[in-house]
């Protein structure tokens, strides 16, 4: 029987094979070869695609080398969602590698945030962690950390250092024993079709009666359509890190083990494949 630590490792070291192709709209001096890369599921697109940028800039005219952005089948990919979430949401159940189109022109101002440097990603990442800790511990743990501890979290993610990251993140995952879990579970629930980017609500890991709440309880409250009766055909897939946990999985355990480095549990709800 495997160890829970293995779950953390599996989550951290999850990789998505991606094939980056330059958009045909881009004008190039010569033909651009596609670029293949293994993307860490828990990282951010703009954080790990320096090589992609270098690769394509070689064939671009210098004056066109503006901000790079990505698109998958017509959908601009939001860099501030973790890569794994983008993949689960838009491309799960498709053939691998994941075909991502690279753009330099026509930045979709309405859909994407600008990402001029890694410090923008860092700021976004740290603000997520802080928000998550505000939900979990009223922000006490993250505020007690020193600046260099924050840095350690970020550097851990940036340099793909599991141990470095978890040495610090461990503190964010603690909770008082008598409460049976965090104050609230930091989670975000994504849908492809939703009018809102994601659902986020206050949700406690334990019911007022003291019962451990599960993923099913969370869905029942926020997205009842995802729960189907025995005889019905499945309409939705509830994906976390590319897997579909059982509905009876305690939400606290999920939060501890299947959260992204930003300390949020990112849940993607996608229509079940018809076949």
């Amino acid at each position: 029987m495997a160890d829970d630590k293995d779950v953390l490792r599996d989550v951290w070291f999850g990789r998505i094979p991606a094939c980056f192709t330059l958009s045909p709209e881009e004008t190039t001096e010569r033909e651009a070869e596609p670029y293949y890369l293994l993307l860490p599921r828990v990282s951010y697109l703009t954080l790990v695609t320096d090589k992609v940028k270098k690769h394509f800039l070689r064939v671009m005219k210098a004056e066109d080398s503006t901000e790079m952005w990505f698109e998958y089948e017509g959908t601009p990919l939001k860099w501030h969602y973790p890569i794994g979430v983008l993949f689960d949401l838009h491309a799960s159940n498709t053939a691998l590698p994941w075909n991502v189109t690279v753009h330099f022109k026509n930045f979709p101002e309405h859909d994407l945030l600008h990402c001029t440097s890694n410090s923008v990603i860092e700021a976004h990442f740290m603000s997520c962690i802080k928000e998550a800790d505000a939900l979990k511990h009223k922000g006490q743990v993250i505020n007690d950390m020193q600046k260099k501890d924050h840095k350690q979290l970020w550097m851990g993610l940036q340099n793909d250092k599991f141990d470095q990251f978890w040495a610090m993140n461990r503190k964010l995952m603690e909770y008082p024993t008598d409460e049976g879990g965090f104050r609230y579970i930091p989670f975000r629930m994504y849908q492809t079709m939703g009018e809102r980017p994601f659902i986020q609500k206050l949700f406690r890991p334990v019911s007022p009666e003291g019962h451990t709440l599960t993923l099913g309880d969370l869905l029942k409250e926020l997205f009842p359509a995802a729960i189907c009766a025995e005889d019905e055909p499945k309409r939705f897939q509830v994906m976390i890190h590319g897997i579909e946990p059982l509905l009876e999985t305690p939400i606290q355990w999920l939060s501890e083990h299947l959260s992204h480095p930003d300390n949020f549990l990112h849940i993607s709800i996608i229509p079940a494949p018809s076949d």
Binding site: D4, V7, Y36, L38, P40, V48, N118, Q158, I243
Partner: protein, 1080 residues
């Protein structure tokens, strides 16, 4: 690390030990008894057996425990018999101890217990004070008591000799009963025992504190346990303000006890002179209404278990505050807990009765990280005898004892059974009010039981509504008879550990193929270093309860086997296969290029007592995402036998600087935080070469991590250390100016000039590197060979005395006869070395006649005493003289410097001060000089000119500001004294004022050569108002001439803000300057 032992008692009272090197529990075979409790230390293990007696198990060691008994035979001379045993009535006994006060005939010596044996018979000690005596070993004296000599003299009226006999402790590696004749006064048998205190005192050797609790709740202390007396001598009662049920004593001076009501007692006053302590203080139970049932203490920790099996950690416990400050609830449900060496924690789980180890307990994280189950099998010896047991099992009759068959049941059904059992266990037994679920031989219930009649002993199982197990209890007892001999013992076993019997009753059906059920554990002798991997945890024999990294995962016993968890594991591995297996040839998005350089070094420990400790030093460098390199420095050290480390991010390092130290090759690393604390990380390398290697490497990685390449920019701040290393600091775009080190010197309008000791001017070529940077991948363009020559001076000192005149025999209080100028350091011709290995001697020692003050023809200078002012001719009042020896050394190194043909530039700043009119980039030579009078009576040494302000430093270290300097009237009008104890000043083009100051309060003393910056310098207020103290120690020169950043943006890494006035630097003699003529 030698292996050490963890001791434990299972619910059947069998004692096992587990070696840190081993992988199975070894049954303590020669014990024919069942035990209730054990308490182990490294050299022995104490226990309470079920016969109420205390037993001791002393490990055999190479050094036998032997004790020398001695007695003296005394005789007096009388004219008739000569020396005879007929003594005067006022005399001592014929046989006595050394003082003569105690009657000690040979026959009175008894072995202290049957565990001792005589090595041989009595014999006479024929040595006296280390020398052999005349035959018979007699020593003589005039009378008792007196000084004895080995020679017989005419007036020797008495004599004595010493008899010696050795006894040896024979009972090693076996359980021996501690004789109880002295415990007759005890009204009741012992119920708990704890051993510790070995860190309190080293005298006598092996001194231990042993505490015990009796069934009636009294506390007893065993006196005089030490290496020569492993059994101790006598029990002394320690009064307690209540009924104690359990006690725990740490390696140091912590002693805590649990009261029957559930509160805790803390012993105060335990110390070297009083192992027993003096008084008790009460500490409340961590959760109101739920009393403590068990406590365990270490050196700096206290752990407790409450009746609801919750585990608690006491914050802030140390020997000054034995009570600690507060409780912290921990995860896990335990029935007992034990603290071993290095505050490592062991416990027995409530659910599974397994032995748990607290993982990750370190000196900085005493509460550890997670519980890890110790899952190793027991030795198989006993299973040979249990053939009948297995046959019984096959007949469907589950039965205690070892079952040899591997469990055929699947894991799942095991787990189900366990769940069932867990369900069954929560049935409360109301009859035992205070302990609804007694799982161990808990003292509270024991006591209740004992007061009841033995016949009612098994009542818990009856009353618990688990009647069907009755027969199993019988069976178990029957088996105990088989294996442990006399039935009476077994009966007593069950009566004494009645609760354990209750357990047996419940747990019998699961057989012993399951993990053993433990009742007691003691890690007091078990040394686990936090970085060593014990092989106790990975054993495949464990059931679902496996190790778990995270603290929160302990409580998931049922969860571990739950379907959802299994499914997550399966899906995750499926996912990894699906998404990665066929794509492993793809490039990874994040490069993991890491390289590490390791070495050994010494580190000046950050905490008291400060000392140099050996450390492993490692620099781990990796490429960051944007191609910039970054690194982490690790310092691995050992503290309290635990391996630990410090780390420091290279991008936080602000300064690397070699530190002058005579005996070690040391350097210091600063970060902003450490500058603030005035406490750099100090390290010493084994050789100078090694130190330079490291400095160069660290320096390059600092530059790498900041993306700094090539020559320093025009804005850099330059400084020179006492050793002549040149550092340059580049204000970065961030708010903080982060001085970073690279070698170089002195700037003026974008051209950098340096002046060597031989007054040659060097010009910076815009290259970078050289010196100890040789061989590194830095820019090697513009690196030229540099040479420099300077003289090293030492002083020969002599004192006059009336007999021999001037000689090299000084007074004891005098300076060394060969010394440096101050006389504080011994400098002989032989031991004086060139300033660094890069310098080589180019001449021999010669007497230096060109000493300020003049010399006589032999080079001597005379004075009334050291230290004083010397003059060149001898007078009547002169009692000491000295002369200076000089030796030239030459530096050949490489650097980005080019020699400038000799120009009359050197020492333009020498007194008397002249203002150089209209110096400009176009006309660097200036065109005329004005003479400006110095401040009264002070010889100026250095001057620095900013855009509008002029500062000078005089020979006494005073800093002066020139008033009234304007572009049209550059001479200025008057001097104002700003500060003293200033060594060097540099004024930047924006009138920033930076100085090197002496006698600044450092981290632990006044430090010399601290970089300070003037605060509050504004266009209208060019003097500023106060100093900001920066990095301390060892700086000799600084220049900020090129630093043209806006003044408010330059913030030193260490701001001691808002010092309202100039910190009064104490006046004193400026130490003799080393004549560095660099100036600007």
């Amino acid at each position: 690390m030698p292996s050490s032992l963890l001791w434990a008692v299972d619910v059947y009272g069998r004692v096992y030990s587990l070696s840190t090197a081993g992988q199975q529990w070894e049954h303590c075979r020669d014990a024919h008894l069942e035990f209730k409790r054990v308490t182990a230390v490294q050299q022995c293990c104490w226990s309470i057996a079920c016969d109420h007696n205390i037993y001791l198990y002393v490990h055999a060691s190479e050094v036998p425990i032997r004790y020398q008994e001695e007695t003296y035979e005394n005789q007096r001379w009388n004219p008739v018999d000569g020396f005879s045993d007929r003594l005067l009535p006022s005399d001592r006994w014929q046989w006595s101890d050394i003082t003569g006060l105690k009657h000690q005939p040979l026959g009175d010596f008894q072995l202290p217990s049957e565990n001792w044996e005589w090595e041989a018979d009595w014999y006479i000690d024929e040595n006296f004070g280390g020398e052999p005596t005349e035959k018979g070993g007699w020593t003589y004296a005039i009378d008792f008591p007196a000084t004895y000599t080995k020679d017989k003299k005419w007036n020797s009226c008495v004599r004595r000799r010493r008899w010696i006999r050795y006894r040896r402790y024979k009972a090693q590696d076996t359980w021996v009963k501690i004789p109880s004749e002295q415990t007759e006064s005890l009204p009741d048998p012992f119920n708990d025992i704890t051993c510790g205190g070995w860190e309190i005192t080293e005298e006598p050797r092996g001194c231990l504190a042993l505490w015990a609790v009796s069934l009636q709740g009294k506390v007893w202390f065993r006196c005089d346990i030490n290496h020569h007396n492993p059994e101790g001598s006598v029990w002394e009662e320690v009064p307690v303000p209540g009924e104690v049920v359990q006690i725990s004593c740490g390696p140091g001076d912590l002693v805590w006890a649990v009261l029957w009501e559930g509160h805790l007692l803390v012993r105060e006053g335990v110390g070297r002179d009083c192992l027993k302590g003096s008084s008790w203080v009460t500490v409340e139970s961590p959760s109101p209404g739920v009393g403590v049932v068990h406590v365990a203490v270490g050196v700096n920790v206290v752990w407790a278990v409450t009746k609801d099996h919750k585990v608690w950690f006491r914050r802030g416990v140390n020997s000054h505050n034995p009570c600690g400050s507060g409780w912290i609830g921990m995860v896990g449900e335990m029935v007992m807990i034990n603290v071993g060496l290095s505050d490592q924690v062991w416990a027995i789980g409530f659910e599974d009765r397994a032995v748990y180890f607290r993982q990750g307990v370190t000196a900085s994280e005493l509460s550890g990280k997670a519980w890890k189950v110790v899952s190793v099998p027991r030795d198989s010896e006993r299973s040979h005898s249990s053939a009948s047991a297995s046959s019984l099992q096959s007949a469907g009759c589950f039965f205690g004892g070892e079952v040899r068959l591997q469990s055929q049941a699947s894991m799942l059904s095991d787990a189900d059974a366990e769940t069932e059992r867990a369900g069954g266990e929560v049935v409360p037994t109301p009859e035992i009010g205070d302990a609804p679920k007694p799982r161990i031989p808990k003292v509270t219930s024991d006591k209740l039981e004992d007061r009841a009649s033995p016949a009612q002993v098994l009542s818990p199982s009856q009353s618990g509504g688990v009647d069907p197990q009755w027969s199993n209890v019988d069976l178990e007892e029957a088996q105990t008879h088989l294996t442990s001999g006399p039935g009476g013992d077994a009966a007593e076993t069950s009566s004494l550990s009645s609760v354990a019997t209750y357990n047996l009753a419940l747990e019998e059906p699961y057989g012993l193929d399951e993990p053993p059920k433990w009742a007691w554990v003691s890690g007091g002798g078990c040394l686990v270093e936090c970085h060593t991997q014990l092989n106790w945890f990975n054993s495949s024999t464990s059931t679902a309860l496996n190790s778990s990294m995270q603290a929160m995962s302990l409580s998931i016993t049922p969860a571990q086997t739950a379907a959802w968890r299994k499914q997550i594991f399966e899906q995750l591995s499926e996912r990894s296969k699906r998404e990665m297996e066929n794509f492993m040839h793809y490039e990874q998005a994040i490069e993991q290029s890491v390289w590490v350089k390791k070495g050994t070094m010494q580190w000046w420990r950050d905490w008291k007592p400060h000392k140099w400790v050996d450390v492993q030093f490692a620099l781990e460098q990796f490429s960051g995402v944007e191609g910039n390199k970054d690194g982490i420095l690790f310092i691995y050290y050992t503290f309290n036998d635990e391996k630990k480390y410090l780390h420091m991010f290279i991008n936080e390092v602000t300064i690397l600087v070699p530190v002058l130290n005579d005996s070690k090759h040391t350097f210091a690393i600063y970060t902003a935080e450490r500058t603030k604390q005035r406490w750099p990380m100090r390290l010493a390398a084994a050789t100078e070469l090694e130190m330079h290697d490291w400095l160069a490497l660290l320096s390059v990685s600092c530059c790498d991590s900041r993306g700094i390449q090539g020559p320093p920019s025009k804005q850099a701040i330059w400084s020179v250390t006492c050793k002549g290393d040149i550092f340059v600091s580049e204000p970065t775009k961030e708010l903080e100016a982060s001085p970073y080190p690279t070698p170089c010197a002195q700037i003026s309008l974008g051209v950098v000039w340096g002046i060597g000791y031989d007054h040659t001017a060097w010009v910076h070529t815009g290259g970078y590197g050289g010196g100890f940077f040789q061989g590194l991948a830095s820019s090697t363009d513009n690196i030229y060979t540099q040479t420099d020559v300077k003289s090293v001076y030492i002083y020969e000192n002599q004192r006059w005395n009336p007999v021999t005149g001037y000689t090299n025999r000084g007074l004891p209080t005098d300076r060394y006869m060969w010394s440096n100028a101050s006389g504080l350091k011994e400098c002989t011709k032989n031991n004086t070395k060139p300033p660094s290995p890069n310098w080589t001697w180019v001449s021999d020692w010669t007497i230096d006649y060109a000493v300020p003050g003049g010399t006589d023809r032999e080079g001597w200078q005379y004075a009334a005493d050291f230290p004083a002012s010397y003059h060149g001719n001898k007078t009547l009042k002169d009692f000491v003289r000295r002369r200076r020896w000089a030796r030239k050394c030459k530096l050949t190194t490489t650097g980005p410097w080019q020699e400038v043909p000799p120009i009359p530039l050197s020492d333009i700043t020498i007194l008397p001060l002249r203002a150089k009119g209209s110096v400009s980039a176009q006309n660097p030579a200036g065109d005329c000089w004005y003479h400006i009078p110095s401040p009264t009576g002070q010889k100026l040494k250095q001057v620095s000119v900013g855009r509008t302000s002029v500062y000078t430093v005089d020979e006494n270290g005073n800093l002066w500001y020139r008033h009234g300097v304007t572009p049209s009237y550059p001479q200025g009008s008057s001097w104002e004294h700003i500060s003293n104890n200033v060594r060097k000043v540099s004024v930047g083009p924006l009138d920033q004022v930076w100085v090197i100051a002496d006698k600044v309060q450092g981290s632990h003393s006044l430090s010399c050569g601290t970089v300070c910056r003037r605060l509050g310098v504004l266009p209208m207020e060019p003097k500023g108002h106060s100093w900001d103290y920066g990095i301390g120690g060892g700086w000799d020169h600084i220049t900020v001439r090129g630093n043209a950043m806006e003044a408010p943006r330059i913030v030193m890494p260490s701001l001691t803000d808002n010092q309202t006035a100039t910190r009064p630097l104490q006046t004193s003699n400026q130490p003799e300057m080393n004549g560095n003529p660099v100036g600007c």
